[in-house]
Symmetry: C2
Subunit: 232 residues, 2 copies
């Protein structure tokens, strides 16, 4: 009989990237799935996506947490109702400027929760679906950031704790993530990416446009419903 | 006219170490005070200490956040009601073993909130009253941990953001912290350290015993009320 697989905490937002990260983790680890609601506009819809993906993989180890501090702190269009979610602006995506949907230092909060949980349940890896190039230029989506976080974990946990930080899709284009997800049978139809709406995806925010473009590049049709589908 | 002082976020739990860290920060910076309730047994009492210290320093920039995830995650006597707070055990304090009051990876959550807030309000430093030697052997209270966190901040914030991580009491003994606090006029009478009770300090938990011993070493009497004062 094979030895029992080690456990991994996967940060599963409910979006495509984290869904494919879960599919990759699932090849080598038992899954423990962590979701964070932080006052983002579409949090109920993302939580539903989380639950449906967790059901798909038959995962019992689920942790759903709330972080109210981002709403109190503000400063991002995702959590501050006074700042509008911008329409897609192609020129800005690969520019050096940080978009207004950036939530300051967000991933550190998510990863910290993952480490605390991993240490208690004995997980030996954390998977996060961060994407460096293809995403929106957020500073906390780059490889150097995850190397720094891995060092922080090494320094800040019990001596007997060993937790790897895995970023399996960080170097992929969004279209590659889709292809990899399909290879692995990831339930992309259950994922949610829109920053604005919860019933049908808007099709016009940064996140929707990047997703639609990526499906087009992969030569596929996105299985979720959109109000508008602009794929040029 | 002197230039306006730069702003610093101080993590102010309401205990002595963070109170003295605030007193030190107050010499060079305008204070912005951050408090976190995370389901610790004495959270209401600590919040009161925070408010009273903030009033003492006349600070308007206050952020009080809640983190429910520690209670959900468990694994520590501070946040898990199924685990008892241990009585002081002298032999364990400087042993290599991590005490059961350790909350896994706790300070990363606090620091992450401080960085998010600092980035939004334009603070250029974060002060935290971590103590390496004299505290309870928590892995996230050592200098290497803060160097790793500073690197994470450099990697994970906007290019124009520069935030120093300051640990002004990390190398001090608790008795030195008390002396330094008194020199700076820090309101130690308003601080709270007990892990167990909220009306009078128990005098018997690790935190009370270390505090009482430190006052004794400094040749002073602790101004707060105790149920029992064992200062051997």
């Amino acid at each position: 009989m094979a030895a029992e697989r080690r456990k991994a905490v996967v940060l599963l937002s409910g979006g495509m990237d984290s869904c494919v990260a879960a599919a990759i983790a699932n090849q080598s680890h038992r899954l423990a799935l962590l979701h964070t609601s932080y006052g983002q506009r579409t949090e109920a819809r993302e939580r539903r996506a989380f639950e449906e993906i967790a059901d798909f993989y038959g995962v019992k180890d689920r942790l759903m947490i709330r972080l109210d501090s981002f709403v109190q702190i503000g400063g991002s269009a995702l959590t501050d109702r006074k700042i509008a979610v911008p329409e897609f602006d192609d020129s800005a995506v690969h520019a050096s400027e940080i978009p207004i949907t950036y939530v300051p230092f967000r991933n550190a909060h998510f990863l910290s929760a993952a480490v605390s949980w991993a240490e208690v349940i004995g997980a030996t890896a954390i998977f996060i679906g961060a994407v460096a190039e293809d995403s929106s230029g957020y500073p906390d989506c780059r490889p150097g950031y995850y190397r720094a976080f891995a060092e922080l974990v090494r320094q800040g946990t019990r001596p007997e704790t060993h937790i790897e930080i895995e970023t399996p899709v960080i170097a992929m284009r969004k279209s590659e993530i889709i292809s990899r997800g399909l290879e692995l049978g990831a339930p992309l139809n259950l994922t949610w990416s829109c920053y604005q709406f919860e019933d049908e995806a808007c099709g016009t925010c940064d996140s929707c446009r990047l997703r639609l473009r990526a499906f087009a590049e992969a030569g596929l049709s996105d299985p979720i419903a959109y109000r508008a589908r602009v794929t040029q």
